[in-house]
């Protein structure tokens, strides 16, 4: 039995490494090859490096790079403003309806970003819903740089909220309590103890916001073209969707994106590892959160304001649009009509198939990515030597490439005629892409969490006679569970409405929620697109709410260590 232990650990390392290599490194390698060899997709190595100078010479690429950076930083700041206060409050205080707020702030992930952008457009533009209700419009404000950053912030601020609140819960009230006992005031304890200890979680979430902001396609595509600035992703998309297609230029743009995100990652990594942030030592933590007391009403008001702007308004615009007989009819009861839902509820309709397909794809993706992430986190945080570093570098790679380019990498890699069997042309290829695209979230969450769990716990368990798998199963996994489950919910939410990779990879005859909605907006009816979004958001919210209620039922202790 003893002898089998190292091999179990080795197996886990090998399995996690293999998963990362196949899911992530393979498509990235093909993209790099495409960037270096312009004719690679046609099977030729001619003209190697001939187009690489474009990266520093092409004025359009430079402008796009600058726009991308400015936008990503603005969105990061915006997410701090929107997400940090409520995240801190949620993490440290007993907020009435805490689990419900969690579900509310998950909703932005359920709304496809370009649908959210359209909803804001239909609300704020001249003669939009705001004008119909209040008699004025904000089209001038929306179609500006600040407007784009604002809408993107509303899509992404929940990342900061969840990371901050989970991280602070992990830190617990115990250290702050120790500081208070030593004479520090509550504010001082927060600034000197609690906040610094939760920096890995906050930094991780900011990295993800940064990566998502520069990867985001829907919002800039819907709004930025009106304001006249192009970002790298829309540039890459245009190179891939405008005829003739420029795979090489798209690959070059992706290389710039990868560099930007890798730089962000190293900053985050430096912040996260330069000191020890061990906050989980196994000693009984004080799980009782502080009471808000007199502050209950103002805090709830703040939550309500954020939820109204971030969730209620876009959601209301989507739902209202789905029930409109005609767009021109506007917000009036005469114009109320359910006919745009009919094509969705028809038995065996393509819309129903799309819902089923997206549902099981998102579920499987959530479990697969969580399993891989747990293994990767253990290797990255607890492992030693070169394998650990290689794994760390591999795990950040999917962050560094936009979904659309990863999809092209998947096509290039999996569509080679030399493969005897390929997943390409089957629905399984979507799983491969979703897992690769969404792996960063569970990995970041799990790694940040594991960094807070002291290695002494493992040692104690080993001393007590536990085998390595037992340490993993009975100590580390339960301790990582809150972060893993939060990440799985995030993965499920994003995967269930994933668009770009689905468009590129879904085999003929297979539709997902994202591609169905997109097709409706492009060719069908805006209202049916909004109706499908409404249904998908309702189903996903219900599932997430159920998971949250179940967690509540299990009691916090099982999961919050």
């Amino acid at each position: 039995m003893r002898r089998a232990l190292p091999s179990a650990s080795a197996l886990m390392t090998i399995g996690a490494a293999a998963a990362l290599l196949v899911l992530v490194a393979l498509p990235v390698a093909f993209i790099l090859l495409q960037a270096v060899f312009p004719e690679f997709a046609r099977g030729s190595l001619a003209g190697a490096f001939s187009r690489l100078p474009m990266i520093v010479e092409d004025p359009r690429l430079l402008t796009q790079t600058r726009n991308t950076l400015v936008l990503a930083f603005s969105v990061m700041l915006g997410c701090l403003v929107f997400g940090l206060p409520i995240g801190v409050l949620r993490g440290l205080f007993d907020i009435p309806g805490a689990r419900l707020w969690d579900v509310v702030f998950l909703i932005p992930f359920l709304i496809p970003p370009f649908i959210a952008a359209i909803a804001w457009m239909m609300t704020l533009q001249p003669r939009g819903y705001l004008f119909q209700i209040a008699g004025f419009d904000m089209g001038r404000q929306l179609f500006t740089f600040a407007g784009v950053a604002f809408v993107m912030t509303l899509n992404l601020f929940p990342l900061v909220y969840f990371a901050v609140s989970r991280s602070l819960e992990g830190v617990g009230g115990r250290f702050a309590a120790a500081a208070r006992v030593s004479g520090a005031g509550p504010l001082r304890a927060f600034w000197l103890i609690t906040l610094p200890l939760s920096i890995p979680g906050i930094a991780a979430s900011l990295l993800i916001v940064f990566a998502m902001a520069i990867e985001e396609f829907g919002t800039p595509a819907a709004l930025a073209s009106r304001t006249g600035f192009e970002v790298l992703v829309t540039g890459i998309y245009n190179r891939l969707s405008d005829f003739p297609i420029d795979l090489n230029g798209a690959a070059l743009g992706s290389v710039i994106l990868m560099c930007l995100v890798l730089a962000a990652f190293f900053v985050q990594n430096w912040v996260a590892t330069r000191r020890s942030y061990v906050a989980q030592t196994g000693k009984p933590a004080n799980l009782d959160k502080a009471q808000l007391g007199l502050w209950t009403v103002p805090v709830l008001l703040l939550f309500t304001v954020v939820a109204t702007v971030g969730v209620v308004i876009p959601l209301a615009a989507i739902v209202a649009t789905s029930f409109m007989g005609t767009i021109a009819g506007g917000l009036s009861w005469d114009n109320f009509d359910t006919r745009h839902y009919q094509p969705i509820f028809r038995a065996g309709s393509r819309a129903a198939q799309a819902l089923v397909t997206s549902g099981w794809l998102a579920t499987v993706t959530a479990f697969v990515t969580a399993a891989i992430a747990a293994a990767v986190a253990v290797v990255v945080v607890r492992g030693e030597g070169r394998g650990r570093q290689a794994m760390d570098a591999l795990s950040v790679l999917p962050n560094a490439i936009p979904a659309i380019v990863l999809a092209v990498g998947v096509i290039l890699a999996w569509n080679s005629p030399f493969l005897p069997v390929t997943l390409y042309g089957t629905t399984a290829i979507l799983l491969v892409a979703y897992a690769a695209i969404l792996l960063p979230y569970p990995i970041r969450y799990a790694v940040a969490r594991l960094r807070q769990i002291g290695g002494s716990l493992d040692d104690a368990a080993r001393v007590a006679g536990a085998s390595q798998p037992q340490v993993l199963g009975h100590v580390l996994l339960p301790l990582m569970a809150p972060s893993l489950i939060a990440a799985m919910m995030l993965v499920f939410a994003i995967a269930s409405r994933e668009l770009v990779a689905s468009i590129m990879l879904a085999p003929a005859g297979v539709r997902t929620v994202g591609t169905f909605v997109f097709a409706q907006f492009e060719q069908g009816s805006v209202q049916t697109g909004m109706a499908m979004s409404t249904i998908a958001i309702a189903i996903t919210s219900t599932i997430l709410l159920a998971v949250n209620l179940w967690l509540d039922r299990r009691g916090g202790s099982a999961f919050s260590g």
Binding site: D242, I327, T422, P507, Q523
Partner: protein, 320 residues
């Protein structure tokens, strides 16, 4: 129980490679999606051949074809841009086939390797409740009544908008560019592809689209939106939608049957249903046909060659 069966069937159908099903073909098609589904269903009912449809924009379809070049998946491709068929043919990717049902398709809409499925025309889509005077010609949209109220699809994203610029240039020379400059001076916006240009007009944020794809606007009008399709007497361009069989197909007979069906009476009736002009002259459309339009001839090959130049000039004129 039924739900579980449906789920299992969906899973099985999704996970099996398309080739494993005895008789099936894969069709990559530009929109409209409803048309693709309707034709697929009718074809399946008539022949028993299963049709796997991938529906996207022309750009997405072409991107997929290029990315899959090493291992092609599609049998039949339907694009919204005639130029893309010309290009695929030049690269030797198409199979020669002339359907017997193409006899009534006019010569300029067919070729030994591709044939039109249907035709759209470029038009002005005008919101009748916008409080603006009904425009009669393209140039009316540059007038003061339409200041800040006009949208245009981006020619870089909409092949048909590109064709319109080429057509106007062919018909008017430099005056076409002066018109575009006047539209820009009149605060016209270029928000994206066709739908992005039309949607602000439906809500009333804008009053008219310069260069709307007509069948989409007709479809919205049928749903009750107050939008009128106006084709200027001074002329417009048409955008035939080519159907073609890829040379790499493993099911040439099924693919040919699909082309035949789309050009049959039943198939063309479905095309007409979506407000496209049917390719066959003997099938009646639900809207004005080619004979009722002043069509500007466009040399597709020459225009394709000048594509970068034209888009660059358009962007300069639009101050982008």
């Amino acid at each position: 129980m039924l739900r579980h069966l449906t789920l299992a069937a969906t899973l099985a159908a999704g996970l099996l490679p398309a080739a494993a099903l005895a008789q099936s073909i894969t069709v990559y098609t530009a929109g409209p999606g409803d048309l693709a589904d309707a034709i697929a269903e009718a074809f399946e009912a008539e022949t028993g051949i299963r049709v796997n449809v991938f529906q996207g924009t022309t750009g997405q379809v072409m991107a997929r074809l290029e990315a899959e070049e090493a291992n092609p998946q599609a049998d039949v491709v339907i694009s919204a841009s005639w130029g893309s068929a010309v290009d695929l043919h030049e690269r030797g990717m198409l199979m020669e086939y002339v359907s017997p049902n193409a006899a009534m398709v006019p010569d300029f809409l067919k070729h030994s390797h591709y044939v039109a499925q249907g035709i759209s025309a470029l038009a002005m889509a005008w919101n009748t409740q916008s409080g603006t005077p009904r425009p009669a010609d393209w140039s009316d949209l540059a007038g003061p009544e339409f200041r800040d109220l006009v949208t245009m699809p981006d020619p870089a994203q909409s092949g048909s908008a590109f064709d319109l610029i080429v057509g106007l240039e062919a018909a008017r020379g430099e005056a076409a560019w002066e018109l575009l400059a006047a539209l820009h001076a009149n605060q016209m916006i270029v928000p994206g592809p066709n739908a992005a240009a039309l949607n602000p007009v439906l809500q009333g944020a804008k009053a008219a689209v310069f260069g709307a794809v007509d069948y989409i606007a007709y479809g919205r009008a049928e749903q009750g939106e107050p939008v009128e399709v106006i084709v200027p007497d001074s002329g417009t361009v048409i955008a035939p939608r080519p159907m073609m069989i890829l040379a790499s197909t493993a099911n040439p007979d099924a693919a040919k049957a699909f082309i035949d069906f789309t050009l049959s009476d039943a198939g063309q009736a479905l095309v007409a249903e979506t407000f496209l002009m049917p390719a066959r002259t003997d099938v009646e459309g639900r809207r004005p046909g080619i004979a009722e339009l002043t069509v500007i001839e466009v040399d597709e090959a020459a225009a394709s060659a000048r594509r970068d130049e034209i888009i660059a000039r358009f962007n300069t004129v639009m101050g982008r």
